[in-house]
Amino acid sequence: MALIEIRGLSTVFGPHPQAALEKVRAGMDKPGLLATTGHVLALDRIELDIEGGEIFVIMGLSGSGKSTLVRHINRLIDPTEGTVRIAGEDVTALPIPALIALRRRRLAMVFQRFGLHAHRSVLDNVAYGLEIRGVPRAQRENEARAWIERVGLAGVETQYPAQLSGGMQQRVGLARALCAGTDIILMDEAFSALDPLIRSQLQGELLALQATLGKTVVFITHDLDEALRIGNRIAILKDGALVQVGTPEDILLRPADDYVAAFVRDVNRARALRLHNALAPWPQTHPLPALARAVDVDAPIESVLPRLVGRSTPIALRKDGRIVGCVDVDAVSALLAPQG
């Protein structure tokens, strides 16, 4: 059983969502519904399983419903139809006190525009999750200080959000989510408002934190490069419906339809794909090279490009301390520039 199970989730925005949804079931499409009734079909029959401990990326363009979808997991938005289960518990059916308890215990969130409280210091912002749970001040401040240091913000505890740069504010947002001590973190375009350098830095730090914390992260983004870098699995959303769910390599090498194919066309495949995708047996005609000269099969293709270009000899690949095969220029070229 997956940690988060989303079943038959549909959401319509407008004054009479139920009636509008019936029209959709009777065959009306999204633009037709908007034109005739003014209702927006935000999500259409979403089925998703998110496993505990993975970074699950939901990606789509603006208006695809991705931010709406993530808000169903902690029920900031109620669905028109369908269920969300967390560890088997139906979130959509919980009475309000139980929902609040669930949010406190299991669900933290990081926001695109940070969502910090301007009247609280950095320390109080980070401790917020513990504060509303009634944790005594001394204890929650200790914990908050530890997380502030962990995200590289030591020294700014007494400052206010407005005094910090965007990148620092989002570190506060991240520390606030981590300090709440939940096992699930929802990140809604958490890095989208930051400039590219800071974004890349924070992606790296998130991966490093995740390696030791092993939380379940549901990460929303419109940036495919970001999705490919941090996602264990990726779901692609278009106009409120799921188009494809798979590993980064599934998405790149086996796009489900033209939409996904068009999407992945501009990706830096050399960085996103790993060498094992081009793995071939070591040619009998060459002597086996020393293990030290071999490259890990899980390294990105990018890392061997300088050694590969303009050479006819293949590069040996190793896995678990032994040579398992090789890659050559032709195999790599075929991967990097597929179907013309």
Binding site: A108, F111, R113, H117, H119
Partner: protein, 284 residues
């Protein structure tokens, strides 16, 4: 041909009959309410009038210093109050100050929850908004007549009239402030498991505090503007000085009263603005 029906007579008689009915049936309750309000007012008045003027000047200076952390500002506020005494209006000014304080207190007690309620419910807002317009535009004497009949002449109907006139901006600015709290700040509260009460006290009110403070400031200024009318129904204070000038055709006396009202307004306004700015910076 007569195109106007006579609605005047039934409206007038109906209104008079309802006032009579209220007095006959609920006269005691109105009196009890008036007395409790009067009790609070008299207590504050006794403190302000009983304290030696130098103590009030000192408190003013300390208060100004506390909100601004500037010596010159504190000295200026204190000098303003000293000017009030020098103009021979100290006692009247203390009466007026007590009336303004109680009126603002009642306005906050009523206006803050009403503003919050308006921000939460479009229904309430649609209902309250025209009432606020009415409260601000209807001439005070229209409701002063029944108020004087229900509560007797003097300070209580003056408080009532002041609250009716001065509370609307507080309601409006509270509503504005709360509805302008960013969606993400609210979502952050909800996402981490805040209850409705925790959202209100921990997110909405603190984040709309600058707007609420602006509303309290507006209310205070409007309450001060009402002191002349208040004195007409026997509330005394600085308004009475102006009224005396009017009745005796004594322009100089009127000027003295007017100046004192302006000085009080400036001192109160500056102290409150500085206090609001301090809150906004997030300092404690």
């Amino acid at each position: 041909m007569e195109i106007f029906p006579d609605w005047r007579t039934p409206l007038r008689k109906g209104a008079n009959a309802s006032i009579d009915w209220l007095i006959i049936n609920f006269g005691d309750q109105f009196e009890a309410f008036a007395n409790s309000l009067l009790g609070v007012l008299l207590l504050i008045e006794r403190v302000l009038r009983g304290a030696p003027p130098w103590a009030i000047l000192l408190v003013t200076a300390l208060l100004a210093l506390a909100v601004s952390r500037r010596w010159r500002f504190a000295l200026g506020a204190s000098a303003g109050m000293w000017l009030v005494g020098a103009l021979g209006q100290w006692d009247q000014a203390m009466q007026t100050l007590a009336l303004v304080l109680v009126s603002v207190g009642v306005s906050v007690l009523l206006g803050l929850p009403l503003g919050i309620w308006c921000a939460r419910s479009p229904w309430v807002r649609r209902l309250v908004s025209p009432v606020l317009d009415l409260m601000q535009t209807i001439p005070s004497f229209v409701y002063l007549i029944p108020a004087a009949m229900l509560f007797g002449l003097g300070k209580v109907p003056a408080i009532l009239a002041t609250v009716i006139y001065a509370a609307p901006p507080l309601v409006r600015l509270t509503e504005l402030g709360i509805s302008q709290v960013s969606r993400e700040a609210m979502e952050a509260g909800r996402a981490f498991g805040a209850t409705r009460w925790q959202l209100l006290t921990g997110v909405q009110i603190p984040l709309s505090l600058p707007s609420i403070m602006q509303g309290i400031n507006q209310t205070t200024m409007m309450a001060l503007a009402m002191v002349v009318i208040a004195s007409m129904i026997g509330a005394r204070g600085v308004g009475e000085t102006v009224l005396l000038g009017l009745q005796r055709n004594d322009a100089g006396e009127g000027l003295v009263g007017g100046l004192v009202i302006v000085v009080l307004a400036i001192v109160l306004d500056r102290i409150m603005q500085a206090g609001g700015a301090r809150l906004q910076r997030g300092g404690t």
